[in-house]
Amino acid sequence: MNNILEINHLTMRFGGLLAIDDVSFSVEENTITSLIGPNGAGKTTVFNCITGFYKPTVGEILLKTNKNFNLERMNDFTIPQKAKVARTFQNIRLFPQMTVLENLIVAQHNKLMDASMYTLKGLVNAKSFVNAENEAKELAKYWLDKINLIDRADIEAGNLPYGQQRKVEICRSMCTEPKLLCLDEPAAGLNANESLELNELLKFIKKEHKISILLIEHDMSVVMGISDKVVVLDYGKKIAEGDPNTVKSNPEVIKAYLGEE
């Protein structure tokens, strides 16, 4: 199985604080990998390094798709655009005053900008641009259908209940047509039912769209339910990496924190 993401000797220092200490792990193509660990272990920091929001102090983050990308050298908006890595946030970051549909359309910005030749074609309503816009709308419709929110497409995103906002955020990421999807605590705040729906959605994404997923989670029903691999961090160091069951019974992991159900 090929690796889509390889993290080698990642270290992140904030002044005197060592947030991540020589962490290496990989994400295999077309799998779901979970990154877990007690609070403060450095999981979101790893995410921020992968997605370009932080520049790592030391280390290499290699994305291997049609070509190789050194993510540690790219900045935060180039990574989704060129390397096709998408992410969601711990505190949901939708565009609250824009509608659900607008959120999904704006995610296809770069594609549409190209189609409109930097807006020029758009100003004259060129046929090719109108087509591109319709395709974008279809893609949005497709994902909204998958999460059963088509009839709420024209509602302001900020007015949706929390669980639905989460799903919209994931769909928005999918509209950027990524190869690697990074989800930061997607199950936070979801009830048992919603967590199950989330599992189904993620499994669907992996299977039908052949997308690799890396997620940070505390909810063990999600982690154990869908992960192909689990990586455990504690105090900035990696303490385990392997399939869920092996990791679950790893004494180091149990010592670090007992996963709660």
């Binding site: 904030f14 979101t44 929001f53 946030f89």
Partner: protein
């Protein structure tokens, strides 16, 4: 050499005035994260109150000077503080928690209101006053070039130092200062811990206004003439001082004030006086572009 020394003395005086006003900007920014656009105009009000008090008491004509100045100082501080309190209470408190643009517009509105309030009630003409504190020491008489340190300048610098010491003590040693620092760090948590956030914020505005009023009185004494528009320009320069020193840092505000005083004085002395305001605006722009957290500030890492 004499010229240089004289400019140095002048800049200290100017810098004290800017520093006193800058503290108000920096404190308010530190505690509620907003730029109090109307603070320069509070300074202007302070200068007018001082002027009126001086005329009322007949300062400079017979009345015992130190006593009169003390009364003027107290009157200016008291009345201007009420202005500062009212400003926060009426224009800013209702919009706490609303978006930035609304707070900015209301601050602009307050600034315009205060300027025109004084223009309407006091007239648009400049208000000159006879020099009140005269005389001083002279060193180095070298023909035409003289270095003099006037009593007025000494007065200004000493008052500033005294106030700053009282003020630093207040901030670091008293419960008030602690509440203020807590609110600066985390407003919600401070409230949850029982700190009266409204009172702390009001007090911040009052202290800022009080210091600005002292600067206003100094301005009247030093320049001898004021008008309703001095708040705008002096305000921006004091704000530049606060940014230069590191917005949110009180020592920074003082240092920034001194630096701006230095830059403005030396620029007018050695280059051209017409562009001295451009120099200060230029500093503002350059600092914000290259080092927005100022001299004593730390770069903020955005939490994602």
């Amino acid at each position: 050499m004499e010229y240089f020394l004289q400019q140095l003395i002048n800049s200290l005086t100017l810098g004290s005035i800017y520093g006193l006003i800058a503290i108000g900007y920096t404190m308010v920014y530190g505690i509620i994260g907003m730029i109090n656009f109307a603070h320069g105009d509070v300074f202007m009000i302070g200068s007018f109150v001082s002027l009126i008090a001086m005329v009322l008491l007949g300062v400079g004509t017979g009345i015992f000077l130190p006593f009169a100045l003390l009364v003027v100082l107290i009157a200016a501080i008291l009345i201007t503080s009420v202005y500062g309190w009212t400003l926060e209470r009426v224009a800013y408190r209702p919009l706490r928690g609303s978006f930035r643009l609304a707070a900015l517009i209301t601050a602009l509105g307050a600034s315009i209101f205060l300027q025109n309030f004084v223009q309407v009630t006091q007239g648009a003409k400049i208000k000159p006053i006879q020099p009140v504190i005269q005389g001083g020491f002279t060193f180095f008489e070298n023909g035409a070039l003289v270095v003099s340190l006037s009593y007025l300048q000494i007065f200004i610098i000493i008052i500033t130092i005294v106030l700053l010491s009282i003020f630093s003590y207040l901030i670091s040693k008293t419960p008030l200062g602690r509440s203020q620092r807590a609110c600066e760090q985390d407003l919600t948590m401070a409230r949850l811990l029982g700190i009266n956030v409204d009172r702390t914020i009001s007090t911040t505005f009052i202290i800022g206004a009080a210091l600005a009023s002292v600067a206003g009185m100094m301005f009247v004494l030093y320049y001898g003439v004021i008008d309703f528009f001095i708040g705008f320009l002096t305000g921006i320069k004091a704000f530049t001082a606060a940014v230069l020193g590191g917005i949110g840092s009180i020592p920074g505000a003082v240092i920034g004030g001194l630096l701006i005083g230095l830059i403005e004085t030396f620029w007018s002395a050695y280059f051209t006086i017409e562009y001295k305001d451009v120099a200060v605006f230029g500093i503002l722009v350059i600092v914000l572009i290259f080092r927005p957290y100022g001299i004593l500030g730390k770069p903020e890492v955005e939490k994602v």
